[in-house]
C-alpha cells in the first residue's frame, strides 16, 4: 500500500539570481546529505558561480576538466565587460557555445526540476545574475558489466543480458532494432524513488490502444518506491488474484525485441535487469528464445517436451496418489506388484508419503537458491543422499515415490519461465489433496477448476490462452510447434499485420474498480 509521507520541503522556491541565496536554498533542502557537494567559485572576480552535484554519480574528470577548467580559464573580458552590456541570453549563449565542452546541456527555471536532475546525477551550474540553472550531464557511476543472464541461459543465442542501468538496457534493445519505428517513451513512477520507466514498442506493428492502455495503467500507479519490476507487474496486471503470471519477464534483450516484433509492449524499469513484456500469454511463457534459434524440428520437439513437462509437474504426484489408493486396477499388474512390495514397509498413507517428500524436495530447492554457493552443494549432497536413498532404506518412503518426486522435480525445471514454474509448483499441492480425497475424479475436478480460471484470465485484454482459446489457426504455427520462418508470416507488411496478424486487437479497456 502507498504510504502517505508528507514531503517536508516546499519546492515552490523561485530562483533569485543571487548565487549565495540560491545555494542556501539548496543547502537547506539537502541538509544532512553528505553525498551532495557544493562548489562555489569566482569567475575572474566578476561573477560568482556554483556547482551542485552528487558525488559518486558524476564523473569527476568531466567536472574538473570540462566544466571548471573552461569557466575559470575563460577570457576575462567575457565577464568583466558584461555587467551592463550583456543580457541573460547573451551570457547563456557564451557559456553554451564558447565555454563548456558538454554535449548535453539545458537550462531550467523550475526548482523541482533542478532538484530532480541533481538527484539523478546531473551537475547544476548556478551563475550570478541568471535566474536559470544550467544542468550538465556528467553521469557516471559504478555499474555491473553486461553478463549472460543467469535465469535464461541458452545454448545458442546472444549471451547479453540486461543489467541495472536503464540507459545500457535501452541501448541493448536499440542495437537490435535500428529503426526510427522503435519508440521509447519516458515515465516517472514512485513518489520517493522517482524511478524511470521506459515504455518501448514498434510503431506500425503495435496496437496503439495497447500502448495507451499501458501508459494509462502505469500512470495510475501510486506508490512510494519501485524497487523491482515485480512492483509494476503487480500493479498493472489484470487479475492479481491468480497464481499465473500475466506478463512476461525477461532478462534477455533478444527476447524483448522478438516480442516487440510481435506487436507487444516492453516496459523497462530502472535499477532492475528484468524487463516486463505485455500482454503475456500462457503459451508464450512456455517458449524459450532459443526455440527460434535452433532448427525448427528440434525446437518443435522440445516444445512438445515442455507440454509433457507441464503435465508431469502438475499431475505426477497426484496421479501416483490417486492410482495407488483408488484405482489399483489401472496399474499394470507387474508394476502394481512391485509398487506394493516397496510400499509394504511404509507406515504412512500414500498421500502423507507424497506430501512429505514433496515438501522435503521443495525445501531443498529453496535452500539451494538462498544458500551461498559453497554451502548449497552440501545441501544438495545431503538432500540427494538422505531423501533419495536413506529414506527408502529406512522404510519411510517407497522407492517408486522417489522416482515420482524426482521426475516431478526435473519436469518443473524445464519451464523456460521461472514464474510459471512457480505457479505449477504451488498448484501441485491442491492437486494432491484432491487426488487423496477423490482419486481421479478429484484430479479431474481440480483440472476443470483450473481450466475455468485460466480461461477467464486476460492480460491487457488478450485472453490468456490465445491462440488456443479463442482458437486462431494461424497462431498455432508458433504454439505447439515452431514452424519454419518460411511458413510463418513476418511483420514486414506492417499495416497488414495490424489487420490480420495481430492477435491483440481484441483489446478492451480495463475496468477500473
Amino acid at each position: 500500500m502507498v504510504q502517505k509521507i508528507q514531503l517536508e520541503h516546499n519546492y515552490d522556491y523561485i530562483l533569485s539570481g543571487n548565487v549565495t541565496e540560491d545555494l542556501n536554498q539548496f543547502k537547506t533542502i539537502f541538509d544532512n546529505c553528505i553525498d551532495i557537494k557544493f562548489r562555489e567559485f569566482d569567475i575572474h572576480g566578476a561573477r560568482k558561480g556554483a556547482l551542485v552535484f552528487l558525488s559518486g554519480m558524476v564523473n569527476m574528470q568531466t567536472i574538473d576538466f570540462e566544466i571548471m577548467k573552461p569557466l575559470i580559464e575563460s577570457d576575462e573580458r567575457l565577464f568583466q565587460e558584461s555587467a551592463a552590456e550583456l543580457n541573460d541570453s547573451d551570457i547563456q549563449n557564451i557559456i553554451e557555445n564558447r565555454l563548456l565542452f558538454s554535449s548535453q546541456l539545458s537550462w531550467f527555471e523550475d526548482f523541482p526540476d533542478i532538484i530532480e536532475h541533481v538527484l539523478s546525477g546531473n551537475v547544476a551550474f548556478l551563475l550570478d545574475g541568471l535566474q536559470q540553472v544550467l544542468v550538465i550531464n556528467a553521469k557516471d557511476w559504478e555499474k555491473r558489466t553486461v553478463e549472460e543472464p543467469a535465469t535464461e541461459a541458452v545454448i545458442r543465442g546472444p549471451r547479453e543480458g540486461f543489467q541495472e542501468t536503464i540507459s545500457t538496457n535501452i541501448s541493448l534493445i536499440r542495437r537490435r532494432l535500428k529503426t526510427p519505428q522503435l519508440k521509447m517513451e519516458d515515465m516517472k513512477v514512485g513518489r520517493l524513488s522517482n524511478t524511470q520507466i521506459v515504455i518501448t514498442y514498434l510503431e506500425g506493428i503495435v496496437d496503439t490502444k495497447l500502448v495507451d492502455e499501458v501508459k494509462n495503467r502505469i500512470g495510475k500507479i501510486k506508490i512510494d518506491a519501485i524497487l523491482e519490476s515485480g512492483y509494476v507487474e503487480e500493479l498493472i496486471e489484470d487479475n492479481s488474484f491468480s497464481l499465473f503470471p500475466q506478463v512476461l519477464i525477461t532478462e534477455r534483450p533478444d527476447r524483448v525485441v522478438g516480442n516487440l516484433l510481435e506487436g507487444k509492449v516492453g516496459i523497462i524499469i530502472d535499477n532492475t535487469p528484468f524487463v516486463i513484456i505485455v500482454p503475456g500469454t500462457f503459451f508464450q511463457l512456455l517458449q524459450s528464445p532459443e526455440d527460434y534459434y535452433q532448427r525448427y524440428f528440434v525446437a518443435s520437439a522440445i516444445r512438445m517436451l515442455r507440454f509433457f513437462a507441464v503435465l508431469f509437474s502438475l499431475l505426477l504426484p497426484s496421479l501416483y496418489i490417486a492410482l495407488t489408493t483408488y484405482h489399483q486396477e489401472m496399474i499394470p499388474t507387474m508394476l502394481l506388484i512391485s509398487i506394493a512390495a516397496s510400499r509394504e514397509t511404509v507406515p504412512f498413507p500414500a498421500f502423507i508419503e507424497a506430501l512429505v517428500m514433496e515438501i522435503a524436495f521443495e525445501s531443498l530447492r529453496e535452500a539451494g537458491v538462498r544458500l551461498p554457493r559453497p554451502v548449497g552443494q552440501a545441501v544438495s549432497i545431503v538432500g540427494g543422499l538422505v531423501i533419495g536413498q536413506a529414506a527408502v532404506e529406512a522404510g519411510i518412503v517407497s522407492s517408486p515415490l522417489v522416482i515420482v518426486v524426482s521426475m516431478t522435480g526435473i519436469a518443473s525445471f524445464i519451464f523456460p519461465s521461472f514464474q510459471l514454474g512457480l505457479a505449477f509448483r504451488l498448484l501441485r499441492f491442491p492437486m494432491m489433496i484432491a487426488a487423496a480425497t477423490f482419486g481421479l475424479y478429484g484430479i479431474l475436478m481440480m483440472l476443470l477448476l483450473l481450466l475455468i480460471h485460466v480461461l477467464r484470465l486476460k492480460s491487457f485484454g488478450v485472453p490468456y490462452l490465445t491462440p488456443m482459446a479463442p482458437l486462431r489457426i494461424s497462431g498455432l504455427k508458433d504454439v505447439i510447434v515452431r514452424a519454419s520462418w518460411l511458413k510463418q508470416s513476418t511483420h514486414t507488411g506492417e499495416l497488414k499485420s495490424q489487420r490480420h496478424q495481430n492477435p491483440f486487437n481484441r483489446l478492451r479497456q480495463r475496468q477500473n474498480k
Binding site: 489408493t325 486396477e329 510400499r343
Partner: protein, 406 residues
C-alpha cells in the same frame, strides 16, 4: 471476490456429496488375486480357491530377491455361492482381496459339467472383476492347479495368460464366453488346462501321470473344453483347437506338417509355418438342407524339408501346396465332424453365420431348434494354400545333388 469464494466453497462441499462411498484403499491393505479356481464339492457347495500375490518386500535390491517358490499364497473356502466362499476367505485374511488383476479363472470338470452360469454370474457382476480374464476348464479338480509354481514369470497365472495370448489354441475370456453363451447359433468353448510334467510338456491330449526326474509339474494347455450352453460336454485335442482358430480367423502362429509317401521315392516330411489364414463361411439353404461352404486361404513359409523335392522348382512347390491343401481340408473336416456328430454342439458358429446370411430362414425355421438341426448340416471345405517363402536354403541338405527331384 467474496462471491467467488462462496461459490467455490459451495461447489467444493457438493463435490463431497456427489461421490458414493469412499473407496480409498491403501496398497498395504490389498491382496491381489491372480487366479481363481472353482470346484463343485459335496452338498452342491462351491469351493473357491484364490491365488494371491505375496507382496512382501524382498530385502534390498531386486537382485537379491527371494527364491520364486513362494511368491503366491493360496486360500480356499467352500460356500453356497461364489460370493459366499469369497466372503469366507476374506474373513480369514487381513487384507482386501481385489479381483481386478485376476488373470485366469479355472473351472473344475465337475462344476463345468453341472453348468457354470452361477459362476459366470459372479464374475460378470462383481465390479472388481475384469472381462478379459481367461476362462479355463480342467479335467479333475481346479484347485490343485493353483499349487503349481511358475517357471518363468512371478506367478503361474501370468504364464498361462501369456500362453493364451500366443493363441496356439483356441481360448476364451470371460467376456468371450458370455458373448458366445448369449449369441444365437454359437456355443462356447474354453481352453483346457492340465498339469503336465515339465520335462515333456506336450500339447497332446494325455492323461499320463508320468513325471520327469525332478518330479516337477507345469501347467499346460492341452486342448479345449466343449460346451453346450453352459455345460461342459467333452474335450477336443490341441490339433482341433488349432483348427478352431483357423475357422475363427484368430490364427496367429501355426505349423502344418505333411508327409510325402514312401512310394514315389521322395520320402520325407515338410513343415510349413502359416503366416496368414483367412476363412470365409458361406451359408445356403436348399430344400430344407442347410449347406455351408468353408473357404480357407492360407499363406505360409516352408521351414523344414527332408524330402528329395527341390524347393527351387515351382512344380514341386505346387505339389507341396496341394498336399497342404488336402491336409488343411482333412483337418477342418475332422473338426467339423467332431463338433457335428460327436458333441452335437455348434462351437464353430455355423448357426450365427446362417443367422446373418439367411436371416429369414433362420428366424422361421432354425432359431428355436438349431440344436436338433445342427447335426444335419452339410459342410464343404476348400482350401487354398500358397507358399511364399522357402527359408534360407534351397535344397535339402541331407540329399546329394543328383538325387534331388528338380
Amino acid at each position: 471476490m467474496r462471491k467467488q469464494v462462496i461459490l467455490f466453497l459451495t461447489i467444493f462441499v457438493f463435490m463431497y456429496m456427489l461421490t458414493g462411498c469412499w473407496s480409498r484403499v491403501e496398497l498395504n491393505d490389498i491382496a491381489i488375486v491372480t487366479a481363481a479356481a472353482l470346484d463343485l464339492v459335496d452338498d452342491q457347495k462351491i469351493q473357491l480357491g484364490v491365488q494371491v500375490m505375496k507382496t512382501k518386500m524382498t530385502k534390498g535390491t531386486a537382485g537379491r530377491g527371494e527364491s520364486s517358490d513362494n511368491t503366491t499364497l493360496i486360500f480356499s473356502e467352500q460356500g453356497d455361492s461364489v460370493m459366499d466362499a469369497y466372503r469366507k476367505i476374506q474373513k480369514k485374511i487381513p487384507r482386501n482381496l481385489i479381483f481386478s488383476h485376476n488373470r485366469i479363472v479355472i473351472i473344475g470338470e465337475k462344476l463345468a459339467r453341472s453348468g457354470i452360469t452361477p459362476v459366470i454370474e459372479f464374475f460378470s457382476r462383481y465390479r472388481d472383476v475384469r472381462g478379459n480374464s481367461y476362462l479355463l476348464t480342467t479335467k479333475g479338480k481346479a484347485f490343485d492347479l493353483l499349487n503349481v509354481g511358475p517357471n518363468f514369470e512371478k506367478f503361474s497365472a501370468e504364464e498361462i495368460r501369456e500362453e493364451q495370448k500366443a493363441r496356439v489354441i483356441d481360448s476364451a475370456t470371460i467376456r468371450d464366453f458370455t458373448y458366445r453363451l448369449l449369441e444365437e447359433g454359437i456355443e462356447p468353448i474354453t481352453s483346457q488346462l492340465q498339469m503336465i510334467p515339465a520335462g515333456e510338456k506336450s500339447t497332446e491330449d494325455s492323461n499320463s501321470e508320468k513325471k520327469n526326474k525332478n518330479n516337477e509339474l507345469a501347467l499346460g494347455l492341452v486342448g479345449v473344453g466343449v460346451y453346450r450352453k453352459d455345460r461342459l460336454i467333452g474335450w477336443m485335442n490341441a490339433q482341433d483347437a488349432e483348427t478352431l482358430l483357423w475357422l475363427r480367423n484368430k490364427m496367429k502362429d501355426s505349423v502344418i506338417t505333411v508327409m510325402i509317401p514312401d512310394e514315389n521315392k521322395l520320402f520325407g516330411k515338410l513343415s510349413v509355418q502359416l503366416m496368414k489364414s483367412k476363412a470365409t463361411i458361406k451359408s445356403k439353404v436348399e430344400n430344407e438342407q442347410v449347406q455351408f461352404q468353408v473357404n480357407i486361404e492360407m499363406t505360409g513359409d516352408l521351414y523344414e524339408n527332408t524330402t528329395k523335392l527341390s524347393t527351387n522348382s515351382s512344380n514341386n512347390l505346387h505339389t507341396v501346396q496341394q498336399l497342404l491343401e488336402e491336409e488343411v481340408e482333412r483337418r477342418i473336416r475332422s473338426t467339423v465332424q467332431k463338433s457335428k456328430n460327436k458333441f452335437k454342439t455348434d462351437i464353430i458358429g455355423f448357426g450365427s453365420k446362417l443367422h446373418r446370411q439367411n436371416n429369414k430362414e433362420w428366424n422361421e425355421k432354425y432359431s428355436d431348434r438349431w440344436d436338433e438341426k445342427f447335426p444335419e448340416i452339410k459342410v464343404d471345405v476348400t482350401a487354398h494354400f500358397k507358399i511364399i517363402g522357402t527359408g534360407r536354403i534351397n535344397d535339402s541338405l541331407i540329399w546329394e545333388e543328383k538325387e534331388m527331384k528338380k
